[in-house]
């Protein structure tokens, strides 16, 4: 990982409270889909972790929702502003060349790491479907994905795509698919838990990116832990270090 200042290249609203920010630059070693970066925002004491949503052609992108003081300040950053970042951090989604039928399922800003993953997978010899869930039509960040992969939408109020939660279209999609090798997920814990239950019932491997408040972001403070099955019991593992991507079978959901 590196600690350095990156210059904002662009920062604009893409949907209701959702922003897309790109920095000029790249990371050494290069970021992998699923990894995150830890961003210092003005005088706030703690950095804020963001999934890397793009890392290509000397640009690093994040997708974020304005939910508090930090993201509010972030939304006002302009081209040329400099931000201190640490990245890339954590582990990416496991990839396997034998997985030819792939489903990406993300809700809200949880689609961020999947955008990066979809870009990495596009052009490969695989069938890729992107399932995207949002509260409402106005909360959808991208109706057409930057990588051009086919996507299906669900909204909770039915204003765009299928009505209901994302697990509904995931179940339908699996039922219609002849074969599915892997599911990659991102989003709020409630959604990820549902993805885990579906993957378990259908016996399809699934890997999801967990979120939490973080202090260090690098595995040294043990602030962001989650319960992970170990042997016959469970232990608190660090989302920033052992994750943020976990096999859904490892996660103990409360």
């Amino acid at each position: 990982m590196e600690a350095k200042n990156l210059s904002v290249y662009q920062n604009f609203i893409v949907a209701n409270s959702l922003y897309w920010m790109e920095f000029e630059g790249s990371f050494t070693p290069p970021a992998l889909p699923g990894q995150f970066m830890h961003v210092k925002i003005d005088n706030l004491f703690l950095r804020r972790p963001f999934s890397i949503a793009k890392c290509k052609n000397n640009r690093i992108g994040i997708l974020y929702k304005v939910i508090g003081e930090g993201t509010e300040i972030l939304s006002r950053k302009k081209k040329g502003d400099s931000l201190s970042v640490i990245g890339p951090l954590g582990n990416g989604y496991p990839l396997n060349a034998d997985w030819k039928n792939i489903c990406l399922a993300g809700g809200g800003t949880g689609i961020a790491p999947l955008l990066f993953l979809s870009d990495r997978l596009s052009g490969k010899d695989a069938n890729i479907t992107f399932l995207c869930g949002a509260k409402s039509r106005k909360d959808i960040a991208f109706r057409v994905l930057p990588c051009g992969i086919e996507s299906l939408f669900s909204t909770e109020d039915g204003s765009y795509g299928r009505s209901g939660l994302l697990d509904g279209i995931l179940k339908d999609f699996i039922r219609k698919s002849e074969k599915l090798d892997v599911i990659y997920g991102g989003g709020p814990a409630g959604l990820l838990k549902k993805i885990a239950a579906i993957s378990n019932a259908m016996d399809i491997p699934a890997f999801v990116s967990l979120e939490n408040r973080m202090a260090c972001g690098t595995g040294i403070c043990y602030g962001c832990v989650t319960k992970i099955w170990v042997g016959n019991g469970w232990e608190y593992k660090r989302i920033c270090r052992e994750g943020p991507v976990f096999d859904t079978r490892e996660i103990r959901w409360d």
Partner: protein
């Protein structure tokens, strides 16, 4: 400008740099951070280890506050046996001294832990954590009582052999000098001042509180005050910590009476904090024509106190 100017001695412990990664913010020293310049680091203190494994506290463990943060990790650790077998061998050394932080629910546990630690050659010193605010919240911390502090320190002293013994104290007390003196009299070699401050935040939406230990810039004046007062009342070296986020903060701690300084949660926001402190201290020595860092310890131009307080520090040179 060179390393030897910044070398310090803490009792029997020689450090090439006064900058120490404090307990709880550097895991067990096994994590490689590419941006951290180890050459500017004197010692690392491990996350606190207990006799038996502890799973730690449930979420949330982290809460941001104005100019700081609350943490409630709850001393999650694998227990001393697993630590010695698995964590200790993986600690990166590179000339950095290894200080193992330990805690005991009762004094007897300290002896049992020391049994397992004192023959480990890789360990340079032990820090006894008597001040974690996140365990047994219904009971006082050991370092809130001079009597209990003395009991734990005596036990550690008897069982640690020649290993330098550092005692970490809480600022959440009426008079920290009383506790510090009790620790000194019971055989402490060095004191770490301060642990996090017991505090809460109130979550209005959920009408719940988050209990934890406050760290960050918000507590720097509290830490400085503790170091300043304890320096004048004890003879043993002090490691000053609490809210250091810049090189200048470290200079302030040295002047208040610290012999070395600890980097805590300030490292999360400033990944180059160790470099910043190193350069600021080097610059301070040059600017003031000092040959070595120990000359800066406690070097305040103090006016005679006019409020009738005539406490004088005991025998400091």
């Amino acid at each position: 400008m060179g390393l030897k100017n910044l070398g310090v001695k803490l009792g029997g412990l020689s450090l090439r740099s006064p900058v120490i990664m404090v307990s709880g913010i550097f895991s067990y020293g096994e994590v490689n951070l590419d941006y951290l310049d180890y050459r500017k680091l004197g010692a690392i203190v491990t996350k606190t280890v207990s006799l038996n494994p502890r799973e730690g506290n449930p979420q949330p463990r982290i809460w941001e506050t104005p100019a700081g943060m609350l943490n409630s990790i709850g001393l999650q650790n694998p227990g001393i046996r697993t630590f010695v077998r698995k964590n200790l061998p993986s600690i990166r050394r590179d000339g950095v001294k290894i200080i193992v932080s330990i805690m005991g629910q009762e004094a007897g546990e300290i002896s049992r832990i020391m049994e397992l630690l004192r023959r480990e050659e890789k360990i340079d010193a032990v820090e006894l954590n008597l001040s974690c605010p996140n365990v047994n919240r219904n009971e006082p911390m050991v370092s809130q009582s001079p009597r209990m502090t003395a009991l734990f320190v005596e036990t550690a002293r008897k069982s640690c052999g020649k290993m330098p013994l550092i005692i970490k104290l809480s600022p959440s007390v009426t008079d920290i000098t009383e506790i510090a003196s009790a620790a000194e009299d019971a055989g402490a070699d060095v004191l770490s001042l301060i642990n996090t401050v017991r505090a809460i935040s109130v979550d209005v939406e959920n009408r719940r509180i988050m209990e934890g230990g406050l760290s960050g810039s918000a507590i720097k004046p509290v830490g400085l005050h503790a170091v300043y007062e304890v320096y004048r009342r004890t003879k043993i070296p002090l490691i000053g910590m609490g809210g250091i986020t810049t090189g200048r903060d470290a200079v302030e701690y040295m002047l208040a009476g610290a012999s070395a300084v600890g980097v805590g949660s300030g490292f999360f926001s400033n990944p180059l904090l160790v470099d910043d402190i190193y350069h600021e201290l080097t610059g301070f020595l040059q600017k003031n024509g000092m040959g070595k860092l120990s000359e800066a310890t406690g070097l305040l131009n103090e006016k005679e106190k006019t409020n009738g307080d005539s406490r004088a520090r005991k025998g400091k040179v």
